[in-house]
């Protein structure tokens, strides 16, 4: 996960035809686009996949028109959001009025949480790789202690204490940051 400056450098490399940079860009932002489609808007897996691919394809063909290279993340968010709303609108034509405004309100709150999660990821990226890995595997990938211990070649009895230490490091890193309150998702 990277901030605006790094994004700008990657976008510039993409524009210069560096296929590796494009792979990097997709890798960096895939969780974000996926979370907006699935968590903020609750799209089905098929709908979310369509929105995900359409968003990245639009980004790829529009790279030369991007006004600010460092603003690729908000650009992706805006496109994903618009496409997700289109999907919901097309499947909810028969529903009574009011469904969409309520959804839009709920989604805005969810987007706020997802943006806070990005801030946490940016802070996480400053931790040692071992901490990033264990936190991601346990909390985001939902892996068991056993799976993590096997993957990282660690004694299973050390996983809980490592997680606690890494969470504490992450909290130290986030000190002073203003993150929104508990999720409503």
């Amino acid at each position: 996960m990277v901030g605006g400056h790094e994004d700008a450098a990657i976008v510039a490399r993409c524009r210069a035809g560096d296929a590796g940079a494009w792979r990097e860009l997709v890798e960096l932002h895939s969780r974000y686009v996926h979370a907006i489609a699935t968590r903020a808007f609750g799209l089905t897996a098929d709908e979310a996949e369509d929105v995900f691919q359409e968003t990245f394809t639009r980004a790829y063909v529009s790279l030369s028109n991007l006004r600010q290279d460092g603003a690729i993340r908000p650009w992706l968010a805006q496109v994903t959001r618009r496409l997700a709303i289109d999907r919901i609108r097309s499947r909810s034509r028969d529903r009574p009025d009011g469904t969409l405004p309520q959804l839009a309100e709920d989604s805005e709150r969810s987007l706020e949480q997802i943006d806070a999660a990005i801030d946490v990821r940016l802070a996480m990226a400053t931790l040692p790789q071992s901490c990033q890995e264990i936190l991601d595997r346990f909390f985001a990938r939902d892996e068991s202690y056993r799976t993590i211990a096997l993957a990282l070649d660690l004694p299973i009895g050390t996983i809980a204490s490592r997680l606690a230490r890494c969470l504490q490091k992450l909290r130290d890193e986030l000190e002073g940051k203003n993150l929104p309150d508990s999720p409503v998702m």
Binding site: A19, S30, F52, F56, Y60, I114, A117, A140, D142
Partner: protein, 83 residues
């Protein structure tokens, strides 16, 4: 300022699970599509009538050129010609 709890941080880490790997790989393969279809797209983009005809039936246009018209290719051609 309220201190953020480790529980809250854990919730936020959990909010961003990985996207399915297959989705990521499809998106990452766009430069390969560009490489394969670039000359054809440039030809269609240069000719307004050809571009309109392709947009009217992209699947048929690709088949006529011997290109497999899967969903990802159709999307890429549509968005490239519309941009």
């Amino acid at each position: 300022m309220t201190e953020i709890s480790v529980e809250r941080i854990a919730e936020l880490v959990a909010l961003l699970p990985p996207a399915p790997q297959a989705w990521v790989e499809v998106a990452q393969s766009l430069p390969a599509l560009q490489s394969d279809l670039g000359p054809l797209l440039a030809e269609w983009q240069a000719d307004r009538e050809a571009r309109a005809a392709v947009l009217a039936d992209i699947e048929q246009a690709l088949r006529a050129e011997g290109v497999a018209a899967d969903a990802d290719t159709l999307r890429y051609v549509r968005l490239s010609l519309e941009s």
